[in-house]
Amino acid sequence: MLEIEALSVAYGDMIALEDVSIRVDAGETVTVLGANAAGKSTLLRTISGLVTARTGTIRFKGEMIDHLSAHARVERGLVLVPEGRMVFPFLSVEDNLRLGAFSPNTRAAGPSTLERIYAMFPRLRERKRQMAGSLSGGEQQMLALGRGLMSQPQLLMLDEPSLGLAPKLVQEVMAAVADIRDQGVTVLIVEQNVHQTLKLADRGYVLENGRLSLSGSASELASSDEVRRAYLGL
């Protein structure tokens, strides 16, 4: 579904990604592990079209999408839930969600998708008229996820969905991601909550200083000495 070949990204002189090739097949859940500043967020932002690659190619459902704007990628079903939630604080919860279904091809189904999301996160329905900025951190994370789902993703990219959440909410968010996966959505997830993410994922890649250092099935990674030492704190 997603094929990335020899991707390199730089901010000025600073090389953020170098020669990164990954693939995500339809229906898979794939994680990217790595230390802080390893390039994980840059990778997701480049796939979404928010950052321009210096070299390399990105193919989505067989089509080269390098030249497409971020919103055109969303229309094709490639959706990012960004780190730090990035909800519109002065819009209501419901308006934030409706903006997720802004593309013409998702707008018609918007009301029924909205119902599905309210069923998944009843808290959002309770607060639908409230301004998004007045939600707690965890509720804003649900809203960001809900907004991403409103875009009817075929590939959903999640950047640190559990950041700043209390343990109970982390479980709820991870359960919601598992639900989304079970509904057939392909998921690419970056998450420092490595233990739980490896339980959720089929496969993973490890990024180190902008380069891929390792890849394998989730269970291979969980038992790899290198991963255990570097990321699992064991």
């Binding site: 802080n36 490595v194 704190g233």
Partner: protein
């Protein structure tokens, strides 16, 4: 010793912190946990002087802090970090920490030396020349710690500095906190990472809906059914 005595904070009719009292003895590490929106950061704000409580008192080594502003409280030895990081984005990492050190009344040269030593201690020397705004979030959080430490605190309050760190980075941060504590620093730590809190805090305070609902050793608090219901969701696994 930090004493929080029946502190209440109201925001336009919303009681964010409700009659919270605890005593943090010198040289100890206390953890502060609770669901999102429980009032943890508001309590930090009341202790550090960022918001004025509706009622109650805060005392540091017996001295009443309530009429003092944040800068005066800092001069008495109270420092904090911010969960929503607040670096001087257009200054270098080093200069951010120099600003902290200058609050001690040092000369600029001495403040610079102190700042360099602080960065070395936090293993941030290689980032010293970078613009603060250009650092990834986890390093901006560490910069918060560096700037607070450079003010020379006796009590340091940390607001979720380990969010976004992987377990190995968490271990490094815990080792640093333990080393600072061994040198006599008293700490109050907000953190959602329960494995981290369990390892450093001898007492854990639990807030829910602005009220202190539990207080005690971590192993005890995490078995409290109420804490499990509102915060943990399920009992902690032995990790």
């Amino acid at each position: 010793m930090l004493e929080v005595d029946r502190i209440t904070v109201d925001f336009h009719g919303l009681r964010a912190v409700n009659e919270v009292s605890f005593t943090l003895p010198q040289g100890r590490i206390f953890g502060l946990i609770g669901p999102n929106g429980a009032g943890k950061t508001t309590l930090f704000n009341a202790i550090s002087g960022m918001v004025r409580p509706t009622s109650g008192a805060v005392r540091l080594n017996g001295q009443d802090l309530l009429r003092l502003g944040p800068a005066e409280r800092n001069r008495l030895g109270l420092a904090r970090t911010f969960q929503i990081v607040k670096p001087f984005g257009g200054l270098s990492v080093l200069d951010n920490v120099v600003v902290g050190a200058l609050t001690r009344g040092l000369s600029v040269a001495d403040a610079r030396e102190m700042a360099q030593a602080t960065l070395a201690r936090l293993e941030m020397t290689r980032h010293a020349g970078a613009m603060a705004a250009s650092l990834p979030l986890a390093l901006r959080k560490r910069l918060e710690v560096a700037r607070a430490l450079a003010t020379g605190p006796r009590v340091l309050m940390l607001d979720e500095i380990m969010g976004g760190l992987n377990p190995t980075e968490v271990n490094e941060t815990l080792a640093l906190i333990e080393a600072l504590n061994a040198e006599g620093l008293t700490l109050l730590v907000i953190e959602h990472n329960m494995n981290a809190i369990m390892r450093i805090a001898e007492t854990v305070l639990v807030l829910d809906g602005g009220r202190l609902i539990a207080e005690g050793p971590p192993a005890e608090v995490t078995r409290d059914p109420r804490v499990i219901a509102v915060y943990l969701g399920e009992p902690l696994e032995d990790a």
